[in-house]
């Protein structure tokens, strides 16, 4: 019926003529794909380098070296090195005096300004020094003190000398003092001992991640202790024990849904169930870990089930064949063989939990806590929440500290993921 049949030569001509165009189309699609991947990778590189460039200086800060006269009478009036005695001593006055002998401020106002140049943690630093080394008493030794964050920003060039004094955060007077200190070679730029050892602080020059770091470790430990056994047990039950019926189907649907619930909702659940109904305290790593455990549970269950499914039935049959019971098959053969896969999933879940912020905000782990938490019942905070809190502060120096904390967090995440990949490559067997 079709009268419009083209003769073969004409047809091959059409095809031949269109081939260049079709190939071009093909190449175009390939190019789009490359551009898309290139864009994503470029962004990744941009993100990492931007954080690194901002954060690298955060590991360093400016210090001033002062010659301190360790006069026991004045630092430790009761002479027993007790906290009370050191608190009553004149540590910060001594530091100020050492500073004054170098920059020689004239008048009350200049002195008042000069006092603020050295970080307000100076007395703690001095008393900690004599506590760890009482031999210092009676000597005159040089000690490094952190400079105030505004001076730090000035020395880094974020606060410009050319800016009119009224718009600058530091006065001309202080700049003169800083120049004097600099000329005498008293100012040094060194690795910051506050970023790793300090805790939450309103003074950016003293702020550090120690408290948040230990909070993260405690929270993750709770999370691991709950999520790993529960996840593995659930996976074993669903794969090896349970018969396929309505209840197991319901459980499976639930697990898939939990994986899709936004993390902030888990936080609300923690607030409503653990804190309001069970009456647990706010801000503690125990509650944080429990919330994160429920959140990472689907990840662990799904990967554990995949690992169990990958164990070939012949292993089970062999075990049954020599008279093992069902539980012996599971515990002696299936779980050990599936362990690498389960561990990989668990580490990835833990990495997820380590980076999670929103649910922990809900249960109050955002409180300003200076002390390092010692147990899961002590109020604490975690690294991502610390980053969130620092990102809100106005001081210029907090941007560097935040980025430095992000570098540390990313370092942990990358090493955890790398370890998971290594584990998978090293231990996983192909059957």
């Amino acid at each position: 019926m079709n009268n419009k049949l083209i003769n073969p030569t004409r047809a091959s001509e059409i095809v031949r003529n269109s081939i260049a165009k079709r190939r071009a189309k093909d190449n175009r699609l390939k190019l789009y794909g490359r551009i898309a991947i290139g864009f994503a990778v470029c962004f990744l590189i941009f993100l990492f380098s931007s954080i690194f460039i901002k954060g690298y200086p955060g590991f360093f800060q400016y210090y001033v070296t002062l010659d301190i006269n360790f006069d026991r009478e004045r630092i430790d009036p009761q002479g027993d090195l007790s906290d009370n005695s050191l608190f009553n001593g004149e540590a910060s006055k001594i530091v100020n005096e050492a500073l004054f002998t170098i920059i020689d401020p004239k008048g009350r106002k200049a002195k008042k300004q000069a006092k603020k140049m050295v970080s307000s943690g100076k007395d703690v630093r001095l008393t900690n020094l004599v506590k760890s080394n009482p031999n210092l008493f009676g000597t005159i030794s040089s000690v490094k003190f952190a400079l105030d964050d505004d001076i730090d920003s000035f020395l880094r060039g974020y606060i410009k000398r050319e800016t009119p004094e009224s718009e600058r955060r530091i006065s001309d007077q202080i700049i003169k003092f800083v120049d004097k200190l600099d000329k005498e070679g008293r100012i040094s730029y060194e690795f910051s001992d506050y970023i790793l050892n300090g805790s939450a602080s309103g003074n950016p020059e003293m702020a550090g991640i120690k408290g948040a770091f230990f909070g993260s470790i405690l929270t993750l430990s709770v999370c691991l202790l709950i999520a790993f056994p529960l996840g593995v047990a659930t996976a074993v039950y669903l794969e090896e024990v349970a018969k396929k019926n309505k209840i197991t189907e319901l459980i499976e649907v639930n697990i898939n849904n939990l994986a899709a619930v936004p993390s902030v909702v888990f936080g609300i659940m923690g607030l409503a169930i653990f804190i309001s109904i069970f009456g647990m305290p706010r801000s503690i790593p125990l509650v944080g870990g429990m919330v994160l455990a429920l959140m990472t549970l689907p990840t662990i269950i799904i990967s554990s089930r995949a690992a169990i499914r990958a164990v070939p039935p012949s292993v089970r049959d062999a075990a049954y064949g020599i008279g093992a019971s069902k539980l012996q098959v599971i515990f002696h053969h299936v779980i050990p063989l599936a362990m690498p896969g389960m561990l990989t999933g668990t580490i990835i879940g833990m990495a997820q939990a380590l980076g999670e912020t929103a649910p922990l905000l809900m249960i109050g782990m955002v409180a300003f806590i200076v002390d390092v938490p010692n147990s899961v019942m002590d109020p604490g905070t975690v690294l991502p929440v610390q980053i969130f809190m620092w990102a809100d502060f106005a001081e210029r120096m907090f941007i560097q500290k935040t980025s430095a904390a992000i570098i540390i967090l990313l370092g942990f995440l990358i090493s955890m993921n790398a370890f998971a990949i290594y584990l998978r490559k090293k231990l996983e067997r192909r059957w």
Partner: protein, 462 residues
Amino acid sequence: MFNFYLLLLILLISFIFFYFGFRQAHILKTLQNQKLHSLFHYYGLYVLLSSLLPSLGLYFVLTICDDVVFAYMIKIYIPLDVLNSKDYNFNIVLAQIKNSVDGLIFGAPPQWVSDTAEIWKTWVFKSNIVTFILCFITSIISGYFGFLKINSKFRSRNAVERIIMTLLAISSVIAILTTIAIIFSVIFESIRFFVLIPFDEFLFGTVWNPQFEGAERAGSGQEGLSQYGAVPLFAGTFLISFIALSVSIPIGLFSAIYLSEYATSKERAIFKPLLEILAGIPTVVYGFFAALTVAPFLRSSGSFFGLDVASESALAAGLVMGIMIIPFISSLSDDVINAVPQSLRDAGYGLGSTKNETVLKIVLPAALPGVVASIILAVSRAVGETMIVVMAAGLAANLTANPLEAVTTVTSQIVTILVGDQEFESAKTLSAFALALTLIIITLGMNFYALHIVKKYKEQYE
């Protein structure tokens, strides 16, 4: 610390029972020459479990219940004038007392608060002693009964296995319990919210301006200003998700097509994990990046073109969120494209089509349900994303379609309302739960739909 030592003690007792059970079985076999059904350690394990599980269960019940019971009992110790005062609220009073018990004292609490706190403390002390004694006795008695069961006819392996199977089944129910907990934790508060604020006002109102009632009572002149119309929040969520998806859908899809159809296996091995790194970066890092790098950049380039870009704009948050969800689309789509049978491609090539034509006209249509599912999952991820919008999108509830302005989202309002001090029972606090309920309904609905599509698609080739 008390809890820790008690748990340690319970564990210790059960291990001692393990030893006794093991030894008893050993004695039966070697000294009395009886034939046992199971291996020695199963007898030990049975005694261990029969000592450990009842006492552990009792411990959890007691520790969870005591606070609830105390809260009920403390009511009679609250002075009458406080009970009868106009703004009496039991939850606030309870929080005051509990803070005082924990040693968190703000300012000077009234005398009766510290008095009731003292009473509470004595209760805690008593309940600790009672818990300790009960758990201790339970662990010993139930362990002893387990021990008595040991004889040559007792099939301890079967008993132990039954217990472990039950434990496995119980742990798998946790997933259901979590879902129930999530639903219950938002639904009651939401109902209370909808008693205060009509349902249609919440759903269709165009002004979002929550105020604490405390401010009204204090007479700050803001009476009746509270308005709970969630449309600006939905619009903001929609706007940001739209921006995010217009970044991530093209990039994700083209990457998936390239990775599955064009890339050599070496390229695949490098770029697939690289893309997945994007999903592993914590959202707080993206938020920081959006607020401190992308937003100022948009602002300065906007002013270069004469546009006024807000310092916290929907665009900045949306762009960064788009990058974040690229891997959700690319990885999932890549998987479903790979799952299309090779025979379909071969048929296409056999008819003389180029790779482009095979991909666009055969493979993609076959994989379409899976691709759509991955996009739906990405949407639900974008809607539920919190930290990026909290840090970069602002809090102003503007009803606008202009991506250069600050908008707010459902999640960022939940965070702002629930972080920090809350006034219980106030409509503002309750509104967060109503928002959470809508969020759950939206994301779960999308998830269900996506899974439904995937399931339907799966059946076609099997």
